[in-house]
């Protein structure tokens, strides 16, 4: 008998320990505390913008946490799964469909209607569109990015091009010329990494391809339009206009500086890195340009990228959370944020600031933002491109499969992934 009493005591004290440990994590106060998660450097630097918000809104405290980009999506979903999502958080805009599907984030139309600060018209339409699912709005663009052409001016001039290519054909001719100018050297015209799916999707979209069909329930990579774009790019590997294999280029900036390649399709996050490497006599030897299009009549589109701010469905302080989003969406806050982390402001008004309008590398981006499109808005998208598309790009680029075979198999694989979606929709 006694033994069980002692055991009970021990048990109680152990349980007491749990309770203590768990309680010690939560604090109580009368102010409303909203949790905010930012990713990577955004999360780190947004902290500096908070004091002003708290001063303007007495009674609201913001607890900012940084989650690393590397495992961001996994962490956010397991936070969702365990009801631990913060009130407001940053979401890469391709992830919005996933969280909306899971009912993890709130629909914002009502807030937007009554807002004096946030209005669809203030944003680039392609970017805004990434936040909209079936005419419901789930996120507010925070900062934006897209991909443009980074190129070597000096190499272009040597190849007889005074302006960047406007069409696919020009891009190809230019690449051939650059390759010819480097005859005998192991140098390339452009870098199309096999592990950057964006290139292939961009060219497909430029060509007017519908990547998924039937309400995004079936893959459509083997459509004529996508096949055309895909073969166009794969040909760059076959003609050795781009290096094959990611490992050959461990440091893209260094490779760019050494003319290992002279063109690279990438985003604003790389501007500072390129600046760091293109120093001395190379300083003014590079620039950025909007992407070429399939022909003279069609503007080359690029991807609508960036991050949005969202409010979790279960948040108890949606009103306060919205205030924070409004604050972060003011043009002046957006400019301040740009100065802190170099993320491009989502609000068009902010682009009038001299730090952006006078920046020579930004022109191409501003131009491109008017021609950006969203990738298919389904939860499976990231899995399709990361785990499937890239795999077949590599196989086609290495000539293990023909373009036709690769796209056929890609379709088959993606259709397997989409089976669940078809079933869900038929329910």
């Amino acid at each position: 008998m006694e033994s069980s009493i002692i055991k009970m005591k021990l048990f109680k004290s152990i349980i007491g320990l749990f309770v203590f440990v768990n309680l010690s994590c939560s604090e109580s106060s009368k102010e409303i505390v909203i949790d905010f998660w930012g990713l990577g450097s955004e999360g780190e630097f947004v902290k500096l913008l908070i004091p002003k918000f708290e001063a303007e809104n007495p009674g609201i405290k913001v607890k900012v946490q940084m989650a690393p980009w590397t495992a961001a999506q996994e962490k956010l979903i397991s936070a969702f799964a365990s009801d631990n999502l913060p009130d407001v958080f940053q979401l890469g805009n391709t992830w919005i469909p996933q969280f909306a599907q899971l009912d993890g984030i709130s629909e914002l139309s009502e807030f937007i209607h009554s807002s004096k600060i946030i209005n669809k018209e203030n944003y680039f339409s392609g970017i805004w569109d990434t936040n909209v699912l079936d005419s419901l709005v789930f996120g507010i663009p925070w900062y934006i990015d897209t991909r443009v052409l980074f190129y070597r001016k000096d190499v272009f001039e040597k190849a007889g091009f005074t302006s960047p290519p406007k069409t696919w054909n020009e891009l190809y001719k230019l690449s051939k010329k650059i390759k010819a100018n480097h005859k005998g050297e192991e140098k390339y015209a452009i870098f199309i990494a096999t592990n950057e799916w964006a290139n292939f999707i961009i060219f497909g979209l430029q060509n007017g391809a519908e990547i998924l069909k039937n309400n995004n329930t079936y893959a459509n990579f083997s459509s004529d339009k996508f096949t055309e774009a895909f073969s166009y790019l794969v040909n760059y590997y076959k003609e050795k206009l781009t290096p094959l294999g990611v490992s050959q280029v461990t440091n893209v900036y260094q490779a760019f500086a050494e003319e290992y390649f002279s063109m690279y399709i990438s985003g604003p996050w790389n501007i500072n890195e390129f600046k760091k490497w293109m120093t001395g006599s190379l300083q003014d030897k590079w620039s950025t340009a909007a992407l070429p299009g399939p022909n003279e009549n069609i503007k080359g589109v690029s991807l609508a990228g960036g991050s949005s701010l969202v409010i979790s469905q279960k948040s108890k302080h949606k009103k306060e959370a919205w205030k924070l989003i409004e604050y972060l969406s003011k043009p002046e806050t957006q400019i301040e944020f740009y100065h802190l982390v170099n993320d491009l402001p989502a609000v068009k008004e902010a682009w009038k600031d001299s730090s952006l309008s006078n920046n020579i590398y930004m022109k191409a981006f501003y131009e491109q933002f008017n021609y950006v499109v969203a990738t298919p808005k389904i939860p499976e998208w990231e899995q399709i491109v990361f785990s499937k598309l890239q795999q077949y790009v590599e196989l086609a680029a290495r000539n293990v499969l023909t373009v036709k075979e690769a796209l056929k198999k890609l379709d088959d694989d993606v259709n397997v992934i989409l089976e669940k979606r078809r079933w869900m929709l038929s329910k």
Binding site: S3, S4, K7, I77, Q101, L102, V246, S247, S387
Partner: protein, 301 residues
């Protein structure tokens, strides 16, 4: 022993107390180990995914489909190939190094054994993640110490973790360094269990050092070696943190391990049914490997 136990039996108080003593541990093992194992088995026949995470009504039984998909997926085979590469190269090498170190430290010539043993053992207790981070910088193509040292031998810088050929050997080298001390200790214990008189007799018969090693040390160590091979193999099949921290499975998926693939499918894409089937295949492979080694041991004995 048996006798004494039966004496205890006379005191009838025993049995119910035994269950009370067992209950906390067994209940937790049952609830948080056996039930999950069984559930994992069941989940592996479902399409548990992100939709199901939202609501269990989106869950279907799909029979063997996960397993069929798995065997048709080149990425799975890649991860399996990499894992076998790791297991088949790292395990024998590390056992070899452990044995060498154990023999050295067991030598009568050596004093201050404890200090050397400690030095060799320290990597074992340290945190794998921290160690992987250190090695990532040691392997750095431009500033790493390894390339610096190799430059004296006239070897050009190698991008250890970025080169598809070198990435896995680099991880293997680090893993041997990290783990050999553990097996070394077990080997030392095994060596100390070999009766001294066997060697004395051999010396009388004029056997040299190598012959002694071959005829006495190795056979006497056989059970220890089998045990070590099994635990080393089991551990190596579970390769995860090294590639997660050092290469994220790259370059070209050359360091993607089965466990990492399982993690990606399960906790990155939330294909939990599929991921559970990977876990079970891993289990079956480890099981088969263990049985194989036990059989080899019996055969040669």
């Amino acid at each position: 022993m048996k006798n004494a136990e039966s004496k205890l039996d006379k005191y009838k108080t025993g049995v119910s107390a035994a269950y009370l003593f067992l209950a906390p541990a067994l209940v937790s093992i049952l609830v948080f180990f056996f039930i999950p194992v069984i559930s994992a088995f069941i989940i592996s026949f479902t399409d548990f995914d992100i939709y199901s995470l939202g609501s269990y009504s989106n869950l279907r039984f799909i029979g063997l489909k996960n397993y069929i998909d798995l065997f048709n997926n080149p990425l799975f085979w890649t991860s399996l190939k990499n894992t076998f590469y790791f297991v088949l190269v790292a395990s024998p090498l590390s056992i070899f190094v452990s044995l060498g170190a154990a023999l050295l430290l067991n030598s009568k010539l050596v004093r201050f054994k404890a200090i050397f043993r400690l030095a060799y053992f320290i990597p074992v207790v340290t945190t794998l993640v921290a160690v992987a981070i250190i090695w990532r910088f040691i392997y750095h193509p431009r500033f790493g110490i390894l390339n610096y040292l190799l430059s004296f031998a006239g070897i050009n810088p190698i991008d250890w973790l970025g080169d598809p050929f070198w990435a896995m050997p680099s991880i293997i080298l680090m893993s041997i360094w990290k783990n050999f001390g553990y097996n070394m200790i077990i080997f030392i214990a095994g060596l100390q269990n070999i009766p001294e008189h066997l060697y004395e007799a051999a010396v009388l018969e004029g056997a040299n050092g190598w012959q002694q090693f071959k005829k006495i040390t190795l056979p006497m160590l056989a059970p220890t070696t089998v045990f070590i091979s099994i635990i080393t193999m089991i551990g190596n099949f579970q390769l995860f943190a090294e590639p997660y921290v050092m290469t994220q499975g790259g370059p070209l998926n050359k360091t993607l391990s089965v466990v990492q693939y399982m993690y990606q499918e399960g906790f990155r894409w939330w294909n939990m049914g599929y991921s559970a089937s990977i876990a079970f295949v891993l289990f079956i492979i480890i099981f088969a490997g263990t049985m194989l080694q036990l059989k080899i041991q019996k055969h040669s004995a």
